[in-house]
Subunit: 414 residues, 2 copies
């Protein structure tokens, strides 16, 4: 034993055990930190309408759920790290059918939800200390994954008055730093409901191409587009194979959020290979999820059409309802199942807490997500994210409650 | 637009798109890179006995699998980020029953396999560039997670001639650097089959306590101990609540590797809280897995007893069989279902490839994991990891093949 080493090191022992910097930086879910207030409201007998979370009430297709009754494996074994051939091929067929796109199975990597695909993509494309350029407001968990990967999010603001569409390319140029390695976009967008046009996506791709950046395109809401729109997949772009990485998920497409199954899709062989090695580290994606996922191959086109029709109707109900409330402003959401209205309030966090703690009407209240959690900058104080995942009746009741709440809220502005 | 910025940045565009350093560093699975050779052997009609992977052939308990037939949820929803109350409470009961330990539900965090618990623990306890002290040989995927977290593994060697038991504390003191933040141990050990004694674990805990280090104790093989041994859980240690983090998993315990369900268990509130925030980032652990996991509550003590008895018998068959092969040396494995014999060979990687590519006997061969993948240093060239997850008949056939192969192998030494 070297006593010198021991003595030197022992000086460390006086200090309390420190967590890592990133452990401190990883944000608590801005939605989930309101959960105790919602629980308390429910404990007081108040019905809480959840507009705060993208958990659809649509049934997971029976042809997926019924697979569980058919499982006859006696041993629930590891699957291949990149996914079972059956699952990966089912995605291959999906891309062929849905986007007319011939992808090879070694361009599709099964992941544990879209979440893991985001983490793998961040890890593969950028070093600790590098920058990720992201539209703002953004899906709040980008920040969690960026922090885990040691990356900084550099926001490019989009504004409600523009329907949260892309700013001119100058805004991206100005946000660029020597350490920018990646641009991430969510299209159709969570939390804003914006569907970016082909021209917008091409502008962004041109920006990435010129500056040698990866483009991570989070397309988990691909199906959810209204008024006849088409969500351009970054996989459709010409001359973009080397820098495009698509994040996909079954969560929303088949209302199967809990199974945790998604994919990372890229034609860049090095990125796919790095993803596979990370996937090997964690051994397998969830096996039961993969087993039922292939049941989706039995769905006809009418499945998506009917679901989208239902959401479009809800969107209309919500949009018309919110517009009719004095002081509320929003542009018509184009896709996904979120919108981000500006409310006549002093502070979205305070308002969201007040709804749960101090407000109720006829024994009910609503829960919304304060927009501040979707911003890296100080913006968003007057906005909330509303998920229209409730049926029409509940949605109408929620809008009524919101109208009444805004009349009573002490921090009402304008 | 600021043209200066554009021109400056444009100089980047000439360079090819670079992956991150960590993307290059994350190792390919040392087992899975032999897979193409195994596939080719099978394509030639050769039967391959898999001694290379810890995929048990024991059935997943029927009381877990049958839960799938009972699932009547119409929407497969997100579960709470830290796990469903039912799953977390089932683990709470397990710890009470199995270790006589009263844990609170906010000391148990559901994770996507033990894998995710390792990643969360690394991320929470150490910054990029910090060191992790690990016994060597180690579970190969520690390296993948350390690389993802930006950590360096500093090995402390254990040796086959000592049954891979811990070296004296001096070896740990010598491996310590100013950036060491964490010690990770796997007990019972993968890949060596060693069960560390209470005294060894206490020595290690004393070392961690004195130097202000976290102790990550990977106990996913807790049940698999032979000859009446007890695997000491780090959770049993006195005065260790603030620095002990246990990694747990249902994969081996219930032969359910494919469902991807585990847990991070710690009495350190800050670590648990950091884990929960990372868990919120990825939304939920797999829901179907959690749903069937609670079925394990119906298992009596005889389940584990019978499984362990079967593995102990296999261990005996393997140990006696390997010892009888000239030039092979090993100490008797004490737990898990692995052993790491030293073989009379020039190079374990070459031997493992040769078995698949050039050898067969009566139409069969064996696949083993070269030990080099379990070492950070240059050690392990003469060792292979053997998983005794096959039934007795197949295990005996495998040992015979290994004996014959070692007689024929051109790189045989001694």
């Amino acid at each position: 034993m070297n006593p010198t080493t021991t003595v030197d090191q022992a000086t460390k022992s006086g200090t309390a055990l420190q967590l890592s910097r990133r452990a401190h930086l990883i944000p608590a879910s801005p939605i989930r930190k309101l959960a105790p207030l919602a629980d308390a409201a429910k404990a007081r007998g108040i019905h809480v309408y959840h507009l705060n979370i993208g958990q659809p009430d649509i049934e997971t297709p029976a042809c997926m759920r019924s697979r569980l009754k058919e499982l006859d494996a006696k041993v629930l074994e590891y699957s291949p790290s990149g996914g079972t051939p059956a699952y990966v091929e089912s995605l291959q067929h999906y891309y062929q059918r849905r986007l007319g796109m011939d992808l090879r199975t070694d361009q599709i990597l099964a992941t544990t939800g879209g979440s893991e695909a985001i983490l793998f993509a961040f890890m593969a494309c950028a070093n600790e200390g590098d920058d990720v350029l992201s539209l703002e407001p953004f899906y709040t968990n980008y920040r969690a994954f960026a922090t885990m990967a040691g990356l900084n999010i550099r926001p490019v603001a989009t504004r409600g008055r523009d329907g949260f569409h892309l700013p001119a390319r100058e805004a991206f140029e100005q946000a660029l730093t020597p350490r920018t390695k990646v641009v991430i976009i969510c299209n159709p967008n969570n939390p804003t409901g914006t569907v970016f046009s082909r021209e917008e996506i091409e502008m962004l791709a041109g920006f990435c191409r010129e500056h040698g950046l990866f483009l991570i395109s989070d397309e988990v809401y691909r199906e959810f587009v209204y008024d006849g729109r088409h969500a351009t997949s970054a996989l459709e772009l010409p001359n973009a194979d080397d820098f495009v990485i698509v994040v996909d998920s079954l969560s929303k497409r088949y209302s199967a959020c809990g199974i945790r199954l998604g994919a990372l899709v890229t034609r860049n062989k090095s990125v796919w290979d790095a993803g596979l090695r990370m996937a090997q580290g964690r051994l397998s994606p969830p096996g039961l999820a993969q087993f039922i996922a292939v049941g989706a191959e039995n769905l006809g086109e009418e499945y998506t059409r009917d679901v989208v029709k239902e959401y479009q109707h809800r969107r209309d109900v919500l949009y018309d309802g919110l517009r009719a409330i004095p002081g509320v402003s929003l542009t018509k959401p184009e896709g996904a199942f979120y919108c981000m209205p500006t409310l006549p309030i002093d502070d979205a966090d305070r308002f969201a807490s007040w709804l749960l703690r101090d407000f109720s009407h006829d024994g009910a209240t609503v829960m919304v997500a304060p927009a501040t959690g979707f911003y890296a900058s100080e913006l968003g104080q007057h906005e909330v994210r509303i998920a229209y995942v409730l049926n029409e009746k509940d949605l109408r009741a929620s809008i009524d409650l919101l109208r009444i709440a805004l009349e009573q809220y002490p921090g009402r502005t304008a």
